[in-house]
């Protein structure tokens, strides 16, 4: 099957051309048994095909980004390519010029090559993925962008690699929102899923908490004390406009968008300081009360179908995770292990809930099926681990941990492997929320 060579697709400021080559229908990655076997792949340093000498830095950075993406995904074994290709300038990047034997000898079954040229601030990247066993092209793209888009282009091709080999997109172009403390205030920040491009998006000069992405990725709901009370706000990321959407007396906290984006489940304390969960209609501001119990109910998370919420309640004495079916208002307790279980997040695939549980004076991350079976601990003996949240494909989990000495944001695979700190710099960071797929 031959792909059309000159289809230009405009991704933001980056132009893209699909290079000629054969896209194979073969499935290389079994995404149904995740992380079981890993495809050996080589990503040698990219080649400077232009004349500007500093291009080597950019080329090296792009190859590194792709290697890190593939490694993090858990589906690849990224081979050490330096022994084979110490001089990228002399090694081939196209089907005809690649020295195939040197790649098969190190066991590579897939190969990524890149030719990068920079002219002033303009960057052209020709990135290719090959089947190193069949010696065939799988996918090739030519990206036109600015030099500062190098990381973004690399992430786009990582996504292309994953799509070609697994038939689904991955998280390489997603972002993570979180709380960042600095000098007595907390603001909401956003960074790429690998920690790059961190930016503060609120300027409330106050405590801002619990960022929640709208399902279209265009808005973030959060709580702020800027008006002297913990009220709920929505920030529109494109326009930068911030709007207050709930300001009842008492707490207006822990927002969670319904899957259709029309409602936000949140916690209010309208009577005697007793927190209950309500659904706020974003357009009309109508409120529907969802829980009714004299104990604290807090931290709702929607099922992917929007027909149920899981939440934290102290109705059994200490905080535990409960589930509420919205149609029949039937409530059932999900967690029985441990005496303090909070921060539930419902998986996008629908059958799992990740949460933080107190364990011997610290917290760890756990996953449990929504029917209460298959309880699994994901973090062990590494500081205090909290605030877990799923990636949009359900393959990864972000969380906060103080294992490095202060609170930072981490990501891991959904089986607990590959735990990696992604945030850095000053300030304690908490409560990460993974964006939906951003397109």
């Amino acid at each position: 099957m031959k792909r059309s060579a000159l289809i230009c697709i405009l991704f933001a400021a980056i132009m893209l051309i699909t290079l000629p080559g054969s896209a194979l229908a073969k499935v290389y990655l079994d995404i149904l048994s995740p992380f079981a076997t890993r495809l050996p792949i080589a990503v040698p340093a990219f080649k400077n095909t232009g004349s500007q000498p500093d291009t080597e830095n950019i080329a090296a950075k792009m190859a590194t980004v792709i290697r890190q993406d593939l490694d993090l995904s858990g589906f690849f074994r990224v081979l050490d390519a330096s022994a084979v290709s110490s001089d990228p300038a002399s090694s081939g990047t196209t089907l005809d010029t690649i020295k195939w034997d040197s790649w098969t000898i190190i066991g590579a079954e897939a190969l990524v090559t890149g030719g990068i040229s920079v002219n002033g601030s303009e960057l052209v990247a020709e990135l290719r993925l090959f089947d190193a066993v069949q010696r065939q092209s799988i996918v090739g793209k030519r990206y036109f962008g600015r030099a500062e888009d190098a990381r973004l282009i690399a992430h786009k091709f990582s996504n292309e690699i994953f799509k070609s080999l697994a038939g689904e997109q991955s998280v390489f172009e997603t972002r993570i929102a979180f709380e960042k403390r600095s000098q007595g205030t907390k603001e909401i920040s956003i960074m790429d899923f690998d920690g790059a491009h961190a930016e503060t998006i609120t300027e409330m000069n106050s405590i801002c908490l619990s960022p929640a992405w709208s399902p279209d990725g265009k808005k973030i709901a959060f709580t702020s004390y800027t008006d002297g009370n913990p009220d709920l706000y929505i920030k529109d990321l494109a326009s930068g406009k911030t709007e207050r959407v709930s300001h009842k007396k008492g707490i207006n906290i822990t927002p969670a968008w319904s899957p259709d984006g029309r409602r936000i489940a949140l916690t209010l304390s309208l009577k005697n300081g007793n927190s209950e969960i309500y659904a706020l209609d974003v357009a009309t501001r109508d409120l529907e009360r969802l829980t009714d119990d004299p104990a604290n109910d807090v931290s709702p998370t929607w099922s992917p179908a929007g027909d149920a919420i899981a939440f934290v309640s102290s109705r059994s004495g200490s905080p535990q995770i409960f589930m509420l079916e919205l149609a029949g208002k039937k409530v059932r307790r999900i967690t029985f292990e441990g005496s303090y279980n909070t921060s539930p997040d419902w998986s996008p695939k629908g059958n799992k809930i990740v949460y933080a549980g107190q364990q011997g004076g610290t917290f760890n991350i756990f996953v449990i099926n929504t029917d209460g079976t298959l309880f699994q601990q994901l973090t062990h003996n590494q500081g205090r681990n909290e605030d877990p949240a799923w990636s949009p494909d359900g393959r990864y989990i972000t969380f906060s941990s103080n294992r490095s000495g202060k609170n930072e944001i981490y990501i891991m695979r959904s089986d607990g492997t590959g735990q990696k700190k992604i945030s850095g710099g000053a300030g304690e960071k908490n409560n990460p929320a993974w964006s939906p797929f951003l397109k």
Partner: protein, 178 residues
């Protein structure tokens, strides 16, 4: 249909006037959403619970003066509990008595937690701690309208330490006035 349009126009006009009024009155405040508070209240109201009670926002709350300090004393709580201890009740008795004599003073009860629990859950817990004191003061005869509550959860510890001594100080209700 036409009548609805007229009603709608009237409502919009009234809302606009309220917004303008609110903004002129409180021009010092930088919050652009302030007008919307006044205009939106009727729409938001779930109709069951005392929204007429004071929100914690509005004019500045102050730390008690040295003369008031003996009455505005922090009260402490057990871990993950909202029950008032005998000592806490004793402090609240003094505060209640003082408030009944000084009827122009409004009080803000801030509920705080120690760092051990989960941040979001602690916000709910802090609100309850603040309300425990409020309800006690109301039982003593203080008008509920004079008492606002504000939960900070574990966001504003008074002692940044990680010991039981620090935690015990941080599990508190703190009282401000205006």
């Amino acid at each position: 249909m036409k009548r609805y349009t007229q009603v709608l126009l009237a409502v919009v006009l009234v809302c606009f006037l309220m917004v303008t009024g609110a903004c002129t009155k409180k021009a010092v405040k930088k919050d652009a959403g302030l007008g919307e508070e006044t205009a939106g209240e009727g729409m938001n109201k779930p109709g069951e619970e005392g929204l007429e009670e004071a929100r914690s926002g509005g004019p500045q709350w102050n730390d008690p003066t040295p003369e008031m300090a003996a009455y505005f004393k922090d009260i402490s709580f057990e871990y993950d509990r909202v029950t008032l201890s005998p000592e806490a009740k004793e402090s609240l008795n003094k505060l209640g008595e003082w408030l009944l004599k000084n009827t122009s003073v409004q009080v803000l009860v801030e509920g705080h937690c120690d760092e051990r629990g989960t941040a979001e859950y602690n916000l709910a817990l802090g609100e309850r701690r603040a309300h425990a004191a409020k309800q006690y003061l109301v039982q003593l005869g203080v008008n509920a309208d004079r008492i606002s509550t504000l939960s900070y959860g574990k966001e504003r510890p008074i002692d940044p330490g990680h010991t039981e001594a620090a935690w015990s100080k941080n599990r508190r209700d703190h009282f401000l006035y205006r």
